[in-house]
Symmetry: C2
Subunit: 153 residues, 2 copies
Amino acid sequence: MAGRSYPGDTTALRTRGASLRRLVTVTDARGSLTAGQVGEQLPFVPKRVFFVYQVPPGRTRGGHGHRDLHEFIICQRGRCTVVLDDGANRDEVLLNRPDVGLHVPPLTWTTLREFSADALLVVAASEVYRPEDYIHDYQEFLGLAAAQADRPS
Amino acid sequence: MAGRSYPGDTTALRTRGASLRRLVTVTDARGSLTAGQVGEQLPFVPKRVFFVYQVPPGRTRGGHGHRDLHEFIICQRGRCTVVLDDGANRDEVLLNRPDVGLHVPPLTWTTLREFSADALLVVAASEVYRPEDYIHDYQEFLGLAAAQADRPS
């Protein structure tokens, strides 16, 4: 079955700056190809790509924020729930399809949970790995997020 | 079982400019994370990321070259064989592990075949999609590749 879904679907979430974005899929006799690119679905140029997989049942990942890093999270297989929190607003997003990406901007406290056994996350990040970009303390995060919220968006 | 494999493993192939590169994997009680980033494992800044999946048994993909595009191909799940050809040299590469990426430089005629039913390719590309970057005619490709081979590498 041939099919193509078009880009342009962006759904803003309650969390400041976060959105769900539909990727482009082309399916033909040779299988399926799903793509996202800079300037369209992908709102930044990635410097790092990583996979998260083989998460044991009941385990939670994330539980931190980033000072400057943008992430774009695709659940290519299986499902998981991503909880976003900007200090004032919150979203719980079920990711369970390979053609949807979740844009998580900086200063978003992010927790990933309820991974299915087969879940595979593909994440594009706007910067290389820098430990000092992580915010591990929730109270510190709230202070930074409040200062950010006072700025014009 | 906790484990970490380190970067720095790059295996040059016979095909001009092509190489296999080991990604970094961190495995702990929360599962596995495998990463590649610009300036280390990833030899270019990606502008497009795509997935190839649900390839029916016996189907071949690729069968073209690119004028300027670099690709970095990871077989995150399952396996497939990638045939690379620079007009003078050739490689057949079995991709069957999530922590190895194949760097395919421009002017490489690339064919993908022998996909397992569960195969998932994750591909990072150095440019957004441009139909005019594709070389679909093998004779034209050979001419361009021969001109390239005459230049200092």
